[in-house]
Symmetry: C2
Amino acid sequence: MSNKDNKIEAEMNRGFLQIMVLLALENPMYGYMMIRFIENIGYSVVENTLYPMLRRFEKNGWISSSWDVKHDRPKKYYEITNEGKTVRNKLLRIWQKQNGVITKLLEEVKNG
Amino acid sequence: MSNKDNKIEAEMNRGFLQIMVLLALENPMYGYMMIRFIENIGYSVVENTLYPMLRRFEKNGWISSSWDVKHDRPKKYYEITNEGKTVRNKLLRIWQKQNGVITKLLEEVKNG
DNA sequence: ACTAATACTGTTTACCACACAGTATGTCAA
DNA sequence: TTGACATACTGTGTGGTAAACAGTATTAGT
């Protein structure tokens, strides 16, 4: 059951995580930093989800990266591109539409 | 590109569609009826997404079904179960949490 | 020296949205 | 009366992604 619950949450993360990451990368950030950033705002992502996602987004041209090798360990900073912003806005519009549908249906459920 | 966009929307539907269907099935409905119902509230699902989903949910015990063979074509009516309502509420809590995160991040983006 | 935190890469699995394909009945206009 | 369209469902295959599992290497604290 806890197993099935994890599956549910994984499904819920699809779509949402993409928006969250694209919004977060309005400010440059590297992977590990983002994991903690996300925890600070009350959510969580695991490494094995976030890192492949960042590589995928870069491949898509939605974000760009640059290595910071000046301070201690090398850090790969990512930042959203203009194309990424376009995608982000598109995703946000879909999200808001979906949120409207949910709100509407919820009201109907409440009002019997 | 339009191809990639479709993929994005497919991803956005994961999670959301589950909530929408579980909310809609507060009132008994059969598949085809739900497709039109969803269109009426300003969204859309294709048959090949909805029908397998309904079968899956029934297998999970989230919804139950019964055939209506009295009127013209046979219709498979589905309805949410108590277990389904528990799942639905869980999904809604996740959705609202995610919505909170997005709202928060959006404000930060707007405020520079 | 050892442990934990930091910061990343690589491979594999399970699941799902949707495309593609098919079956069968009911309705209505030319 | 036939042919198109709506209704109502089932079945199979594909591609993309979250997350499990696994590994590498550096730095900080004890």
